[in-house]
């Protein structure tokens, strides 16, 4: 059974945007969508982390929404864990929340993109 999921990725902020897009493309190749619809991705860009993760103070956030069946996810997550440029990820069931970031004042001034 296909279900809608929402994923948040935190990439190493040292990575360039093309590299991140390339990685996302590689991840998403593991998740064939019905009707070959593209996976929605919302790039939040560089943000300060609330606490250091793997020694990094900032991370590049991407939020995506996709459809998948439960059996596909363990394999997908394994691929995510093997990627060194990805600091952290979270996959949850999509509850219809918005994907856009809610900008906080301190991030706005640090955002140089």
């Amino acid at each position: 059974m296909l279900r809608r999921y929402e994923a948040v990725y935190i990439f190493d902020s040292a990575l360039e945007e093309p590299a991140i897009t390339e990685k996302l493309g590689r991840f998403h190749a593991l998740l064939p969508q019905p009707g070959d619809a593209p996976i929605e991705a919302n790039h939040w860009g560089k943000r300060t982390l609330a606490y250091p993760v793997a020694g990094r103070e900032t991370g590049y956030y991407v939020v995506t929404r996709f459809q998948a069946s439960g059996e596909m996810l363990p394999e997908f997550e394994r691929a995510l864990k093997l990627d060194e440029g990805l600091l952290r990820h979270l996959i949850v069931l999509d509850e219809g929340a918005q994907m856009a970031p809610t900008p906080s004042a301190k991030d706005a001034e640090e955002d140089d993109s």
């Binding site: 948040v8 935190i10 982390l49 609330a50 606490y51 993760v53 991370g59 956030y61 939020v63 952290r88 979270l90 949850v92 509850e95 219809g96 929340a97 918005q98 994907m99 970031p101 809610t102 906080s104």
Partner: protein, 73 residues
């Protein structure tokens, strides 16, 4: 003396689902140290308190909210 009536701030704001990515909303329901505020103090209804606690825990996992505020060690 009766206790003052508290109303659920989330019901009033008309939010349908509490989103774990909305750190600004969530941070209103944290103590100074970053703990989850009990509904006894915040006045949130049971349903929204449940949604809030899940959302705050998810936000912590993706480093949008700190586990402990003001801890530098």
């Amino acid at each position: 003396m009766s206790r003052s009536q508290k109303t659920c701030a989330i019901c009033e704001s008309g939010v349908r689902v509490v989103d774990f990515k909305d750190e600004r909303l969530l941070s209103r329901f944290l103590t100074e140290r970053g703990k989850i505020l009990p509904s006894r103090l915040s006045g949130t209804c049971a349903r929204h308190q449940r949604q809030l606690s899940t959302a705050i825990k998810r936000a912590r996992q993706v480093a949008l909210l700190p586990y402990i505020k003001g801890f530098n060690g």
